[in-house]
Subunit: 297 residues, 2 copies
């Protein structure tokens, strides 16, 4: 895992006419995976390595300027596969709820400005002192009823991301694809769908059937990869494994989403302190190579 | 949380004729919660506080001597509600599998010697390098086919414990009550049932229905409590919260198991570095008081 950035990446040769070779044609690098790179550095590295897509995050995009970021990626010919993230819709306090809704409308505006059709939603955890998961999930539905039409007007789809159950209290009360679809189904698929991320669903033997359910409704709005490695770090947020390092068979999950009709980009999103401590271009090159090794063309 | 052991514990007054007052009548302290106490210290503390039941662990019981431990708890009038734990049945290697089966037979023998009818099973994680959760779960079923009849002959029921999905790779490939019951249902309920532990299932909106399913089949072999607190510690094993400190409504889950017909002991099992660093009798007194505050009589 100390691959130099100069090491050849299988399938990364970029033909100026046909674009990236098959091995990376569906690859999108989520910005968080290489957050040590500035936005211009990320764009440069993607061009050099033949990476065709990026999933962006609101904070670095805002810091760079939304309009400037949109121009940067557009000029480089990069596809913005998702914007991460809206959500955090579980507050009870009316002022907090209004602020969250306003912030999510801004997130929709930013997604539209960046030219992506998908805004990933991390729903939010339990309010302080609350033990009411069911009530929190219902407040998400209430918020989606307001945000869904707004998103549709702007050509953006909301993609509810179930997070691993270890985040249920403090980050996301939506823990399974079944729960995410139960919420999404109340709205048109062009407004609300789901994010399928291997890291969050790999343990769930009901997830393959839920992926089929999502696909039949055209609600798989993005497909993300990360591997499961242990031991988990304190706080459990930043221990997502590089593809191939852990317990998840990426091709198996690719098979489920493809059987459900998904043919879109495949984003690699790793939160990993060890990767963040390394050279960002080197990590991107490694991730691209691991993608070609662990994902079918 | 620095309650002195001398502080009164609600409902703990022990009447020599009627036994512990109602508030603690169903309380069992899992030995791991106060692992800093030796077995004689634990037994003394239970007597002083009016705690009627204990869940024991194999390692400290073996260290003390199984026969001596059985006599100690029997002479003190304590009910041994469970023995923790058998399991770790996912090995592929034939020699490892044979060793695991032999060790589980010894665990059954020990449970019988201690006078408890319930052996908790933690199924085991993925073998090194494996990504095959389904295969691992199937090997558990194969092992239960051998162990179930042996346990029944000794008057012991096996209680498959689904562990939180964050343990799926390295500790227990059985992550939900539905999975545990899918396994248990292949065998008679007098041989194989499940452990319901709030810590592991609280996030799961399908768990209440699965508890009803388990109850209808007489497969709720033990009910354990721990609260969910964050941030999780590195390795995520030893961060189980004291009752009332976290996100779980204990009465809600008590309601589910009671509606399903469960009227047995309620064990409190906390793995918690902060509790282990304190005086064990003080922790037991606090846990007994938290039990009366968070569980209906």
């Amino acid at each position: 895992m100390t691959d130099a950035v100069t090491e050849p990446v299988a399938g990364s040769a970029t033909d100026p006419v046909t674009g990236p070779a098959d091995g990376l044609a569906r690859f999108s690098i989520n910005q968080m995976t290489v957050r040590q790179l500035s936005l211009p550095e990320l764009v440069d590295a993607c061009r050099d390595l033949g990476v065709p897509g990026v999933g962006l995050w609101r904070e670095p995009v805002q810091a760079y300027g939304v309009g400037a970021a949109a121009k940067l990626v557009r000029d480089a010919g990069l596809t913005v596969t998702t914007l991460c993230r809206g959500g955090f819709l579980t507050a009870v306090d009316p002022a907090e709820r209004a602020a969250a809704l306003a912030d999510n409308r801004r997130a929709v505006d930013e997604a539209a400005a960046l030219g992506t059709d998908t805004l990933v939603l991390v729903s939010g955890g339990l309010p302080a002192g609350s033990k009411d998961l069911r009530g929190a999930r219902e407040r998400i539905a209430d918020a989606l009823a307001e945000l869904g039409p707004y998103a549709e007007e702007h050509g953006v789809r909301l993609a509810i991301e179930p997070l691993h159950p270890m985040f249920a209290s403090d980050r996301c009360v939506v823990s399974t694809l079944a729960q995410a679809l139960d919420l999404a189904e109340r709205f048109p698929a062009r407004q609300v769908g789901v994010t399928v991320d291997t890291y969050h669903v790999w343990w769930d033997d009901t997830a393959p059937a839920q992926i089929a359910r999502a696909g039949a409704q055209d609600r798989i709005h993005t497909f993300q990869l990360a591997d499961w490695t242990t031991p988990l770090p304190e706080g459990v947020l930043n221990g997502r494994g590089q593809l191939g390092d852990g317990s998840i068979d990426m091709r198996e999950w690719q098979g489920y989403v493809e059987a459900a009709g998904y043919t879109g980009p495949i984003e690699v999103e790793l939160f990993n302190d060890a990767l963040w401590a390394r050279d960002g271009r080197e990590v991107l090159a490694e991730t691209a190579r691991r993608f070609t090794e662990n994902v079918r063309p």
